[in-house]
């Protein structure tokens, strides 16, 4: 039995179709991340699932039941808002117990559930404080606690980490992942940050302009992106996308011209006919310095991160490659270098950006 099903869901605001037909199945206890650039519709989709937005057409099923016309307050879902949306005039304990109060659960039981949730999130010492007296991280925990207490069918998260500072964000990521394991709950999580998606998701849903570009596990999306959009969205630093033209058919291999001074020789593919213009995708860690490398370029910028070094290399025709180098590499701006494939991984996209496998 699936936890959630979206069938051809569309959303229209006046003249504009913002969600253009989304199909998705979520299995129980799965951690699904909806990711994409601003305006792609991920938050809208989440809110439609929550019941805070109306579904223009298509179906929503939760636990097998159709939920299109069910009010938000009766769907059995819990949502953690980006701004936490805590009730400012209530204590932490009251905030967390509010939903139970609405459900008519008597006080002793309410208090018990609230303290159980507080224990999981280490909030016990804050139960009598009001939101004003809490730090950002603590408020966020209360927002999560409010959701946990209800033992909902599905947890919904709307960019919950974006208001936290960087180090807190890393810590919360780990805690959320552990929480997921501990509760064995189904979670649908929205973010624009692909790092959060990669680290927390069982499966990632990449959205753009109201349609799903690709669904898959993080590594699948990383290694086998369906198109150039997914390829450049997932992974940091971004995948290098080079314009290339098939120059020569060498039997088992094929030669691709990248720029007047650079070319690449890769395994042949029936779709790579001579003269065809394609896009070659190479992740920064797959390239390396090599005296016998077939790519020639000049180093434009070097970034020393301590654990590794990023270099940006111009290879002509206005193309610049990002290459991840070992921290000890003796490179300097202005050096002429030769690059070759360090790791045997690449993706080729056709003229319209779709991957050719």
């Amino acid at each position: 039995m699936t936890a959630l099903v979206l069938k051809n869901v569309k959303k229209q605001y006046g003249e504009v179709l913002t969600i253009k037909g989304v199909d998705l199945e979520v299995a129980p206890e799965e951690f699904i991340v909806l990711v994409g650039p601003s305006g792609c519709g991920k938050s809208t989709l989440l809110r439609m699932i929550a019941g805070l937005e109306e579904i223009t057409s298509g179906d929503l099923f939760i636990d097998g039941e159709q939920m299109n016309d069910v009010e938000a307050d009766s769907r059995g879902l819990a949502m953690v808002f980006q701004s936490y949306a805590l009730y400012p005039h209530m204590t932490v304990a009251d905030n967390m117990g509010f939903a139970l109060k609405m459900a008519g659960i008597p006080k002793p039981e309410r208090d018990r559930k609230v303290s159980d949730a507080a224990k999981i999130l280490q909030l016990e010492h804050l139960l009598d404080r009001t939101p004003k007296q809490l730090s950002g991280g603590q408020r966020q925990r209360v927002a999560i606690g409010r959701a946990i207490v209800r033992q909902p069918k599905i947890f919904l998260f709307d960019e919950p980490l974006s208001n936290l500072d960087a180090s807190l964000r890393v810590q919360m990521r780990i805690e959320l992942a552990e929480l997921h394991r501990k509760l064995n709950a189904t979670m649908i999580y929205v973010t624009h940050d692909q790092v959060e998606a990669m680290t927390m998701a069982d499966r990632i849903v990449v959205l753009r302009d109201g349609i799903i570009e690709q669904v898959g596990t993080p590594l699948k999306l990383y290694n086998k992106p369906a198109n150039t959009f997914v390829a450049s969205f997932i992974g940091s630093p971004k995948m290098n996308l080079l314009e290339a033209q098939v120059e020569e058919d060498l039997g088992a291999l094929v030669k691709l011209r990248l720029s007047p001074g650079s070319h690449m020789v890769l395994p042949a593919n029936p779709q790579l006919t001579v003269g065809r213009k394609v896009t070659l995708g190479l992740r920064p860690e797959t390239l390396g310095l090599s005296d016998s490398g077939t790519i020639a370029g000049i180093i434009a910028v070097v970034e020393h991160l301590g654990g590794e070094t990023l270099s940006y290399i111009d290879i002509g025709s206005g193309t610049r490659l990002t290459v991840k180098l070992d921290a000890m590499s003796p490179v300097a701006v202005g050096d002429t270098v030769r690059l070759g494939l360090a790791v045997d991984r690449h993706v080729i996209f056709d003229e319209s950006g779709v991957a050719l496998y």
């Binding site: 929550a50 019941g51 805070l52 009010e71 938000a72 307050d73 009766s74 879902l77 819990a78 949502m79 808002f81 701004s83 949306a85 805590l86 009730y87 400012p88 005039h89 509010f98 939903a99 609405m102 459900a103 409010r146 209800r150």
Partner: protein
């Protein structure tokens, strides 16, 4: 800017700031002082700063102008017109804040434009209507008219306080299983209670100081303090100690209200155009 220069500016600021404040408040201060003088002291030249205070004016003014009755009328009219206005305004403000549409926006603008209608333009018909229904010099008429005059501002104030409640909080409440009525009870009212209080205070202040309608449609029965003071207008000379006492007693309560709600007053009177 050098330290010395900035200190000089601060000093200048303090001196001027206090000077201006005292200057502006001086007439009120002088009036308050006169309230406790005998008529002789009040009229003396050169003006006396030091004198032996007396409370005789406060006693006498009641005879002259029936202060108690007028004060009571002021209280009743201000309080009732404000309460009724809030009762009418709150549901409308709620709708305009949380269910806003193009039509509700137009409605709000229309309400505000009514506020700008000069009372004097409708004085005659209102007066004649009141005469016709025998409502001249009744508290009822004054309450209704004051209520209607202030209604647009009260709707606006409540609307602006409602809008300050972040929508997400109400959505969170929705997700927590609260229907609209419960959202109102557990969230909206507690969160906007201060707003309601300020709005009520503003309404009371506006009603209390209202003089135009009061002078024209009330007399001895329903006259408020504004009318009582106005009746001093044509007296000759020997009454200013009593006038001052009556004035102090009339404006005193409002000072307290006004001082508490400065910021809200700006918002209400400028329709939020200046925050």
């Amino acid at each position: 800017m050098s330290r010395a220069k900035s200190e000089k500016i601060d000093l200048l600021r303090m001196i001027l700031g206090w000077f201006v404040g005292i200057l502006m408040a001086f007439p009120v201060f002088w009036m308050a002082l006169a309230a406790f003088k005998t008529e002789q002291d009040a009229a003396s030249i050169p003006p006396k700063l030091f004198f032996s205070p007396t409370l005789e004016n406060f006693v006498a003014m009641n005879e002259r102008v029936d202060y108690v009755r007028h004060a009571w009328n002021s209280i009743v009219v201000s309080a009732s017109s404000t309460l009724i206005a809030i009762a009418l305004a709150a549901p409308a403000a709620y709708v305009m804040a949380f269910y806003a549409t193009k039509s509700t926006r137009k409605l709000m603008l229309w309400m505000l434009s009514i506020r700008f209608m000069p009372a004097v333009g409708v004085l005659i018909p209102i007066y004649l209507i009141l005469v016709h229904f025998n409502l001249i010099d009744t508290k009822f008429a004054l309450i209704v008219i004051t209520c209607l005059s202030n209604l647009p501002i009260i709707v606006w104030m409540l609307y602006s306080y409602f809008k300050e409640v972040p929508v997400e909080i109400l959505e969170a409440a929705r997700m927590d299983g609260a229907r609209p009525l419960r959202q109102l009870r557990y969230l909206l009212i507690p969160l906007t209670a201060p707003g309601f209080a300020s709005t009520a205070l503003l309404g009371v202040i506006l009603a209390w100081n209202e003089a135009f309608w009061c002078i024209n449609i009330t007399a001895t029965e329903a006259g408020t303090l504004a009318l009582a003071i106005a009746s001093f207008a044509n007296s000759e000379g020997q009454f200013w100690a009593k006038l001052s006492a009556a004035s102090l007693a009339s404006v005193g309560p409002i000072f307290i209200f006004g001082w508490i709600t400065q910021r809200q007053l700006v918002r209400g009177l400028t329709f939020g155009a200046v925050k």
